[in-house]
Symmetry: C2
Subunit: 254 residues, 2 copies
């Protein structure tokens, strides 16, 4: 946490989404101080969600964990939690989607009370069986519209959405509804070697990031362009050099 | 080829889709005889397609190869070619889709003359960068409608389409238009370990195959339910035992 805050800040990157695993073992007040001392703005806390399960007790465990995430977000000054909504392959997509909606509605009062927004992040269809039954921006928009709260919106990640021929219209739609809360970028490599950890730097793959960013900005979105590159390849490299590669890719290919 | 024809036939499986790689090194007339001698009906030839490329010469090579596939299909008695449409990650999805459409229109006269139909198979969005820029049944239907020929339709594979919340309506749509040409089944395992070769037997994963088959049959589709399980795990096993597993899965989970 301290390493990220210091090095990002020195490199001119003044905002960060905090993953909950890096909060383990440190006091939230200390985490906030590390961020504040380095002038880091917190974009969001990642991640809440994983609501669905065929097991009712497991669904309650998920609710409890999301309530904890809301407390953590408030404590470190994160105005937003990104929701990786979840999916249980033992039940239908419809049941999963209903339980996601129910989960969000259940935690919404606590989110409101804490002043923390919730972003439904549609995940690539290759995760529909285990990570999220919300797989298109249309579905995420539909769910946000159905819940109808200024505290519930969407997070748009090019990695998950780039292939969708309805992407431009759905970005416009969530912009018009005022529920576009976050924008994540990276690239899709061909071939991709791992389902989770082989994302590319912008410019390395086949996603037209500048085009999608253009659609995002046309909505009036004034938030950060968040680079999110899960990569066992890059994570094995020197992380200072990787940070510089991220910055270069951001400046030249997004 | 002979092994498949004999063993499938003995097991009571009387129809097959022939992959072009198994035709290599044998005369088409001999291939047809192997099939006929075992009472095997040919459902389709797999596969044509791979139309798009930034390189014009490569696009012509693809056209030539598809024309050869039409000859092969006619020679072995296949009434249909399944098209894995292709994608070149170096150009936009729109350009890829336009080149796919152009490619199909270019080979259509030869297909008609040979009495061979062409099925656009939408592939899972995880293949949008390299194998197919047609990634939903809606897109495949739109393309078939735009081309508007009784020789051009779609192939619906549960593996590629199961996650899509518009699947039922798009199956109805292609049924109503009379261009539902093929139906492929298998299952999506969680976790899936490989982008290509880790499909599951029906019942092993999270796809509701009976539900989707129900939608297919409601359209009046009277073709075969084709089991298509690319799996490095199963392919390493005894293939007679695997054939029996396929039959059992088909009878109990589809």
């Amino acid at each position: 946490m301290r390493e990220c805050a210091e090095h990002y800040s020195k490199a001119g990157v003044n905002a960060i989404t905090v993953w909950r695993n890096v909060l383990e073992g440190i006091k939230l007040i200390d985490a906030r101080k590390m961020l504040d001392d380095n002038g880091m703005q917190v974009v969001s806390l990642c991640r809440g969600g994983f609501f669905p399960s065929v097991d009712k007790a497991q669904r309650q465990t998920a609710i409890d964990d999301n309530l904890l995430a809301i407390e953590q977000a408030a404590a470190i000054g994160a105005p937003l939690i990104v929701l990786v909504c979840g999916a249980d392959g033992r039940q239908s997509l419809e049941a999963n989607r209903e339980q996601i909606k129910e989960g969000i509605i259940t935690i919404l009062p606590a989110a409101k009370a804490a002043g923390v927004k919730l972003a439904i992040e549609p995940l690539h269809p290759m995760y529909a069986g285990d990570r999220s039954a919300v797989n298109t921006l249309q579905q995420a928009n539909d769910m946000a519209v159905a819940i109808n709260s200024p505290y519930v919106g969407v997070a748009a990640d090019v990695y998950h959405l780039w292939w969708d021929n309805h992407l431009e219209e759905e970005i416009k739609r969530c912009g018009a509804n005022g529920h576009l809360f976050a924008f994540h970028i990276c690239d899709w490599k061909t071939p991709t070697l791992d389902f989770l950890l082989d994302r590319g730097l912008m410019g390395e793959g086949c996603i037209n990031v500048p085009q999608i960013r253009g659609w995002i900005e046309e909505t009036g979105f004034a938030g950060f362009n968040e680079v999110e590159i899960f990569s066992s390849i890059y994570w094995q490299q020197d992380q200072q050099a990787f940070l510089q590669k991220v910055i270069d890719a951001y400046l030249h290919h997004s």
